[in-house]
Amino acid sequence: MTIYPTAWILSTGMDLAWHLADEVEAGVEDMDGALTSGDLATAFESARYTLNAVALAWQRVDGTPLSTVEPEFLAALGHARSRALATYASWPAVSELTEERMGELVAEVRGQVAELRAAVPFELPNLRSPDGLMPGLRAARLIDGLRARHGLPPFSWPGLMT
């Protein structure tokens, strides 16, 4: 069992858990939706987005703030000399994609998501799903109560604002 400092859990840990539930899972949903529709090009771009979102999550563990805003997204990956950029460069041209090849890329990205999930100290219910909304709200209330007890402001829930 890994033991984490409370302050880390309430800041970095929360960032990671919310990023996984919101950005990374949204990327996976987009990949699946595009694949279901037979839209390989959109599935490819969703895979790129997810790959980058996973890479940024690992950078957060090392102390980098999380942002999925383009184009700062690219600067953050470049500054860390992220292998996600090399992986993206190695992927085939969209015109060469077949269902089989796209399936391999999706499997590769899913593998990276699974590794990240295993490393995140806890998971949050996905607020943006019918099954996750109420448990997500309960978790949010608990987290913000803990943050208040430790003198921290409420969590900002990036991505929920438009």
Partner: protein, 316 residues
Amino acid sequence: MNILDEALARIGRSGEELRELLGSLLEGNPAYLVGSLAAGFGNVRSDVDVHIIDQESRATGVPAMFFLGRSIVDVVHHRPAEVSGAAAQLAETWAPMAGGICGCGSTISRKDQKRLGRWWSSMPLNVGDPPLFDADLGDRVTATNARGALAEFFVYAAIAEMIEMHADDQAIAAGAWRRVALAYVELLARSRGESFVGDKWVWRKAQRAGLPGSLIDDLDRVRTRSGLRRAMADDLAAVEPLDLVVVAPEPGESIDLGLSSVLLVVDRVVPAGGHVATGSVREEIDRLGAAGVLEALTHQTAHLLADDAGLDAVLA
């Protein structure tokens, strides 16, 4: 089938079901389907984005969330002044660029580009609600959208230049240059009438904009700066991005602690000496190194902007 039903059919739903779900929220206020489904894209997993235009001060920016079956419906309120404000920002002059047109004068923010794209392609939920933008604004909307994409292209290219200097690994720089080429595809599509929609739709937009398949394919194979210049089909290839992009610090508070001074920026503390100054990104690279500027962008203590006068000169 009307266009609203056609759009919602992609998630297996209809306009009538959406109106029933939102019920009294729609009473007395015009409401619009916006986002990827309204823009002609979207698929079975897409969210349903609805904007309601009303005079009440409910425009918090926080969407109210509903579920239509398993589909998420995000409802955001906007005031009429926000829509008229977006119309007032539209480019009034434009120049030919890359087979399409691009606005002159100034660049609107990414957030405003997103709103403009959503409102331009919006669909009324109720028969009789007026369109948010008059159809005769088409060229001005296209020019404004393209201007945003042009600025963003040069910002991406400047970042790729810095990654090339910093990474010391051609495989990593290759990924950055591929991303820059994607920004150029976005620019070509927008200059021909496409709007800001999520980045994942770029290939669909390129196809709908009628870009030649061979050009798109050449761009998708870009992995170097020289490769990008060869693949680009216009004079923009000759422009040096580092000459067009300026860096600006986020506003912060400087604190002298006696032994050292620091800047408080956003929610972080950075050493004052390592903070970027406003000005030429090339000069800041000379002062801090490409790594220093990339670090400032990464930590959100600074941001890059394309210089509007420089962009106008390019268009001229």
